[in-house]
């Protein structure tokens, strides 16, 4: 049986995940956004996760500010220290713009992509997810796999662990769980190997 062509759907998922990692702002982080998020979680059997986010948001005086403070602490500058800078090189080279960032940009270029003037660094998680989405749109499955294996998963696992352990807000724990789910390798039988 041949697999259905899901590439456009996967592209949409990657784009959505990239969106989830943007700095929280009421321009886009509105009711409609959360409905879509809860719907996706529901489809995956993650209703509880959705409920937890909803509860935290409903209980907040200013949920956008809470998410902004948390985003700043987790990904920009935080006290006691920035938890999980969203750049591959930080995990692989212990610096911004290390070799790993260079290799990431080179990979984009090989595939005929580049970064816009106002883009963040090439190895920012948002750009990596955007790139995966563009590869999916082009049905470049091999490229997608190669990028995931060589340039995404090696650092993402560390990033994911840090966010999971240190995030105070369920939104970010759930988002990194989603990213993990959609980028994780599986063995032949569809089992996802345990992290070890």
């Amino acid at each position: 049986m041949s697999l259905p062509d899901t590439s456009q759907d996967i592209a949409a998922v990657y784009r959505f995940l990239a969106q989830c990692m943007q700095y929280p702002d009421s321009d886009w982080m509105n009711e409609e956004f959360f409905d879509v998020l809860y719907n996706l979680l529901g489809t995956l059997g993650g209703i509880e996760e959705g409920v937890e986010i909803r509860k935290t948001i409903n209980n907040a005086e200013d949920y956008i500010e809470d998410l902004q403070v948390e985003y700043t602490r987790l990904f920009i500058n935080g006290v006691p220290h920035v938890v999980a800078p969203p750049y591959a090189s930080v995990y692989m080279d212990k610096s911004l713009q290390g070799t790993f960032a260079g290799n990431t940009l080179a990979f984009y270029r090989e595939k005929g992509f580049g970064l816009k003037e106002d883009a963040d660094l090439p190895d920012h998680i948002i750009h990596e997810l955007e790139f995966l989405s563009l590869l999916a749109e082009e049905k470049d499955l091999t490229g997608e796999e190669e990028f995931l294996t060589k340039l995404f998963r090696p650092w993402y696992q560390k990033f994911h662990t840090r966010v999971t352990e240190e995030a105070h807000h369920p939104y970010f724990r759930v988002v990194v769980m989603l990213i993990d789910f959609f980028t994780k390798e599986e063995d032949e039988d569809g089992f996802q190997p345990n992290e070890a």
Binding site: L3, T6, Q8, D9, I10, A12, V13, R15, F16, A18, Q19, Q22, W28, E32, F33, V36, N39, L40, T43, L44, G45, E48, E49, E65, Q68, V69, Y71, T72, R73, I76, N77, G78, V79, H81, S95, L96, Q97, A101, G102, L105, A106, Y108, G112, F113, G114, L115, K116, D118, A119, L121, I126, E130, F131, L134, F181, F182, E186, G190, F191, Q192
Partner: protein, 746 residues
């Protein structure tokens, strides 16, 4: 927590299609990654970018950057440089790590927590600038311009400092580089020779170098070190007064292991000996000094024996020093030093240095103090306006004279802090910190905290989240020296005896600024617009500022780029004394102001029983707290071991490598510990450590808690009476080991 599907299953089912349809409705239309034309890899190959000017320290060596596809891979000295040449120091090299330090400030942030215990929220530039502009304006509206105090530092802080001083009109500006560092040197030399001395000693061509506390080798500035090493290679003798066996002491012909605080007595004895024994330069004294008689009389009490006793050194050694100076005069380099805010008696010590060079005739001659004749380049900034004395805290209105008559530019720090904390004589309610970390540059951390707590508004601009940034309401990220235009660096060839040449260079970015970092012109102008000063803005962009400056020398950014970042032109012979050059051996203006007109020694407090005097200095691979979070430099020197005399250590039962903390004579304990370096190379009554360690800010993930912060232990403030500058070496400590406080037996 895990989803109850596998990815494969999910992707195979119809659920993906169902779930994915609405997804695209809530994503933004554009992406940062975009389709580009295919280019060969070589298109993105390595490039050498010219125009870098280092600012890992103030020396500002000229750089080139090796850039690969937008990433700065390596910094090197600009081969065209006639100053540092291709050489840069360890810190210069490690600039790459500052540029890409993940802890660096990236976006404007607002503190939605408390001052000192911040909760940061990223905000837009517009929101940040609106808040800064409106808060500062409201302070001026309510309390007047004097209601704002400013703590600036570095090349990027000049433009905003001028804005607040000249246009807004506050006197309340305190630069650490003046009030906690070299201001005393500069004003003492102005009062002695009419000019600030810089470090303008013709070291390559000298016969004797005379240092008081200078520790070149640990204190590294590339062309300065080149000059020093060249001088030693050429056979210069070296005389070093230092309680510690410093890198310079280790190379010295005479090491004077002087008691801290007594340097002036030592120099007075040298000068008195030279005068009494007719070993001074009579012709020079006749032609180029004033007040010799009064000077000679004032210092006449300083026999070798008296000084020997005061300084705890042999009289014979002082004589040996004096003889060596006399035998080689006038080709003697009496180094003015740089960081000289030591004991609160420093103006007089700096005067003594200037006068010693005077009676040796060591000005404008080979090997003496020789200001190179550099090129002229005009500057551009906010127009000067007169704001009178009414709100000048350094002005005594009853007496109609200055409180500290020989203050460096700005207002003495303590006057500002006292006023801000007490609200007297007027309220100070907003504070602007720009590139300075007053928590570690200014002694008395509690006082600094009290100042911040007394403010209605605090804003900080910096590249790193230094300790002070924790006290900001709004924190703005500045582009670093590798990401912006600004400073014009000019000078001459480093060895004055070689072909006379001049150079002009301007700082240019080696890579574009990352994230949302902005330069000082943008930030200042935007605040100025919001404070109602738009019409007075002198330049719109930083490029315009640099171009306008360069235009005064018939240059431009474009021309400089075409000349590999450095313009070189013929220079002038710097030797030969100007006719009107005068050394004020006795200065009547100083006497009229109520201070001694001839250099005078004032004893400093003695070390209390059980304590040692805390001394600090520079490490070769660090520029104080500016580099403490730099991973390469941190690895090279991760902490600051405390130097402890070996005999003292034996009595205390301490061995090399032991871990200790400190408590000072006012009961302040160090927050962290460091290791002990047991050595015969330090006097028994002192301990020594490198300055700039032990950051308390957890945002500095590398530097936090590494080593001990000496500044935290400097709680007793001495104020230099002539200048109002801080003296920081009258603090005393005991060691704490395994929780036990140890009495030091010197």
């Amino acid at each position: 927590m895990a989803f109850n599907l596998t990815r494969r299953k999910f992707l195979q089912t119809a659920s993906l299609a169902a779930a994915s349809v609405p997804l695209s409705k809530v994503v933004s239309a554009s992406t940062g990654v975009t389709k580009t034309p295919l280019d060969a890899k070589g298109t993105f190959g390595d490039k050498t970018v010219v125009g870098g000017i280092c600012e890992m320290c103030f020396w500002r060596c000229q750089l080139v950057g090796k850039v690969r596809d937008g990433r700065l891979m390596k910094l090197e000295g600009n081969p065209k440089s006639i100053d540092n040449g291709t050489a840069i120091c360890a810190r210069g090299n490690a600039g790459v790590k500052l540029l890409y330090d993940v802890d660096r400030l990236k976006y404007p942030m607002k503190n939605v927590g408390k001052r000192g215990a911040p909760k940061w929220k990223r905000i837009s530039w517009k929101e940040a600038l609106d808040e800064c502009g409106s808060k500062l304006k409201s302070t001026v509206d309510k309390h007047g311009a004097q209601g704002i105090c400013v703590f600036p530092h570095g090349a990027s802080a000049k433009y905003p400092m001028h804005y607040f001083e000249r246009t807004v009109g506050t006197h309340n500006v305190s630069e650490a580089s003046f009030f906690q560092c070299r201001g005393i040197r500069d004003t003492a030399y102005v009062a002695s020779i009419g000019k600030a001395p810089g470090e303008k000693i013709d070291m390559p061509n000298t016969k004797v170098l005379f240092f008081i506390g200078d520790h070149l080798g640990e204190n590294v500035h590339v062309s300065h070190i080149k000059q020093y090493v060249q001088g030693l290679q050429n056979g210069a003798k070296l005389i070093v007064a230092d309680p510690r066996f410093s890198a310079s002491a280790a190379k010295a012909d005479i090491w004077v292991q002087i008691k801290p605080g007594t340097d002036t007595a030592y120099m007075l004895a040298i000068m008195n000996y030279l005068v009494k024994n007719n070993k001074y330069d009579k012709a020079f004294v006749e032609d180029h000094t004033e007040g010799f008689e009064e000077f000679a009389a004032a210092i006449s009490e300083w026999s070798l024996e008296k000084a020997a006793k005061e300084c705890d050194i042999p009289a014979e050694q002082i004589k040996e020093v004096a003889e060596m100076l006399a035998a080689n005069a006038p080709h003697v380099g009496v180094h003015p030093g740089r960081h000289v805010s030591w004991h609160g008696n420093d103006f007089q010590r700096q005067r003594a240095l200037a006068c010693l060079a005077g009676i040796l005739g060591a000005y404008y001659v080979k090997g003496g103090w020789v200001p190179a004749k550099g090129p002229k380049v005009g500057g551009v900034s906010w127009a000067k306006e007169d704001h009178g004395h009414k709100y000048d805290l350094n002005y005594d209105h009853h007496e109609d004279e200055k409180v500290y008559p020989f203050n460096p530019p700005g207002t003495p720090t303590e006057l500002i802090r006292d006023c801000a904390i007490s609200g007297k004589p007027y309220p100070i309610k907003s504070c602007v910190v720009w590139g300075q970390n007053p928590m570690q540059t200014i002694p008395g951390q509690q006082k600094m905290k009290d100042l911040f707590n007394a403010m209605d508004f605090v804003m900080c601009v910096d590249v790193m989240p230094t300790d002070v940034t924790m006290w900001a309401d709004i924190l703005l990220p500045e582009s670093s020296y590798l990401e912006r235009f600004d400073y014009i660096k000019k000078g001459t060839q480093w060895d004055l005896s070689k072909e006379h040449q001049q150079y002009i260079s301007a700082r240019m970015p080696l890579v574009p600024a990352m994230f949302e970092r902005k330069d000082q012109i943008y930030i200042t102008n935007e605040i100025a617009k919001r404070m109602g000063h738009e019409s007075k803005i002198p330049v719109k962009t930083i490029e315009e500022m640099v171009d306008k400056s360069l235009a005064t020398a018939n240059l431009s950014i474009e021309k400089l780029k075409a000349e590999d970042g450095i313009h070189i032109q013929p220079g002038k012979d710097p030797y030969g004394i100007p006719e009107d050059f005068t050394v004020m051996l006795f200065n009547e203006d100083i006497e009229d102001a109520g201070y001694p007109g001839a250099p005078t020694y004032k004893p400093v407090p003695d070390v209390p029983k059980g304590y040692a005097r805390l001394l600090y200095g520079r490490a070769p691979v660090h520029t104080f707290n500016r580099s403490q979070n730099n991973v390469w430099l941190h690895n090279a020197m991760p902490d600051n071991p405390v130097w402890l005399n070996d005999e003292v250590a034996a009595k205390l039962g301490i061995i090399d490598g032991d871990t200790v903390g400190f408590v000072n004579s006012e009961g302040v304990e160090s927050a962290t510990t460091t290791t002990v370096k047991v050595t015969p190379g330090i006097r028994k009554d002192c301990v020594y450590m490198y300055h700039g360690y032990g950051s308390a800010n957890p945002l500095m993930t590398i530097g936090v808690g590494a080593g001990v912060d000496d500044q935290a232990l400097i709680t007793k403030l001495a104020i230099d009476p002539e200048t109002g500058c801080s003296g920081m070496r009258n603090n005393f400590v005991k060691l704490i080991k395994d929780g036990k406080v140890l009495e030091i037996q010197a």
